[in-house]
Subunit: 297 residues, 2 copies
């Protein structure tokens, strides 16, 4: 077969597994499954990977093992193999410091990119470091703050090619808990966008009013018929506004995909900040390619 990939890029999070057959930095095929780190026991990682990439592997007995490079929660303590955090300040990815995962199939050679840690204030990331390495590949010399929105949003200071400091906000997780499981769920069950209500929430949030303003969403819904779409947009604004309140001056890079990027872009515009947006998947593959080049063969 002539269409085997050179290597395989793997984005392995808590709730998903995404694999990409790569030739250099070009994606020639891809697949995904819900076999996230959170659903697998240690012995389940290799079979879960083989289910998706088996057809890309060279079946000849004398073939070289396929280079697979993975980032994300796959390297956590509860993952396939623990890749100890690298402490900032440091380059986001050091190709010489990947962890080789234990495998039984001789066709595989799996390297895991370690996450980053910060001592004070304590913080950790796993997966985002690879996107940050991709950002520096695609935009060499970037200095400023990278914003990676999500369940656990990251704000990352980058200077001279290194991560100098970062901070995690539980914005996405708080939104999900409040909108789906708290008393506010009765008042927020409509995700039609409402930019005006979102902006009101943002202003309250950046003014430090998020905690105090939450229950009013329920009360306004009971007393004044606040529309569920408006309540949901204001809740989103309250939490994103609180997250963005501490944003430093200087250049910004927004990394992500889907509706969340549009929401953060709108939030940053409302705060008068310009931002360049980058697709998170593209940056992750660029970062994994950098790691793959330097990974032990």
């Amino acid at each position: 077969m002539t269409d085997h990939p050179d290597w395989i890029a793997v984005d392995w999070g808590t709730t998903h597994l995404r694999v990409f057959a790569m030739r250099g930095t070009t994606v020639i095929d891809q697949a995904d499954s819900p076999d996230g780190m959170g659903t697998l026991s240690r012995a389940g990682f290799e079979p879960a990977l083989l289910r998706l990439i088996g057809r890309w592997l060279d079946p000849r007995p004398d073939a070289r093992p396929m280079r697979v490079v993975a980032c994300g929660m796959v390297g956590a303590r509860q993952g396939w193999a623990e890749a100890p955090y690298r402490a900032v300040p440091c380059a986001p990815v050091a190709p010489g410091e990947l962890l080789i995962a234990p495998t039984t199939d001789p066709r595989l050679r799996v390297a895991i990119v370690p996450g980053l840690s910060q001592d004070d204030p304590a913080d950790v990331m796993r997966g985002e470091e690879t996107q940050l390495a991709g950002l520096l590949e695609l935009q060499p010399g970037f200095e400023g703050c990278a914003i990676l929105p999500g369940t656990h949003s990251k704000h990352v200071q980058i200077r001279a090619g290194r991560v100098t400091r970062f901070h995690t906000a539980m914005t996405g997780e708080l939104f999900a808990l409040l909108a789906q499981q708290s008393v506010l769920r009765h008042s927020t069950a409509d995700d039609t966008p409402d930019p005006e209500a979102f902006a009101i929430g943002l202003d309250q949030g950046r003014a430090g009013q998020s905690f105090h303003a939450l229950f009013a969403l329920r009360a306004e819904s009971l007393l004044a018929g606040l529309a569920p779409s408006a309540a949901r947009a204001r809740l989103s604004g309250l939490l994103i506004g609180a997250e963005l309140a501490g944003l430093p001056d200087g250049p910004l890079a927004l990394i992500g995909s889907g509706p969340l990027v549009g929401l953060y872009r709108a939030a940053l515009a409302h705060l008068g900040r310009e931002v360049a947006a980058h697709d998170g998947g593209t940056l992750a593959r660029a970062g994994l390619a950098l790691a793959a080049e330097g990974a032990p063969a």
Copy 2:
């Protein structure tokens, strides 16, 4: 029978039903069940009440109906009968403005105490107004701020016998969601008190750092072995500190029961505030007694 009560006091919340056989303001018997408003359909309220109070009712056909006075979520839109909110500023309870619930058993006459509402900022309460009426019965002339900790904590300004303004913080609900369902659950699974960690959280919380400091609990647990008891106490401090940050000057009254009262008392002491604590159940019965005196016979 000579030991029938004069009247029956009922505290009927979302998750519980508590009934008290009363002679004047004295409790002569009591009972409770998990038949909270949240578990009952409209037709289920009368049978749920009769299961607990049936033995206190006079079976003679010519007996007067028993006066039952209830407060709490029983008067919500999804409750037994909707008792429309009374708008502040107003006295916490107006005995002439109770709602009579529809009943089929002729031995019953059930009156429901309405909750209070505030237009701007929008806010509502159901149940706490009765405890506030009890506070004013037991401590006539109280002026200041009453603090009622709980799932939805209330801070209530009282002046000249009236509620002038109030605010709800979702402190208890946020704590439960974060400690039981978020990523922090892995790091907070020990509720041994830790006053030092609680105080650290309080200081961060009142400085407006609650949102920003949440994820550090997880990261410190991973990186530095932060004890689950310390992480849980700090989480509690972060949320209570945020709630208490806006507390006005002036006299305070703390209303509640159980460990939460101790926690808030400690928090207020840490903030240098003196507070008189009152048992919530005692105040609720005093408020219901006031309502019962004025209720239509």
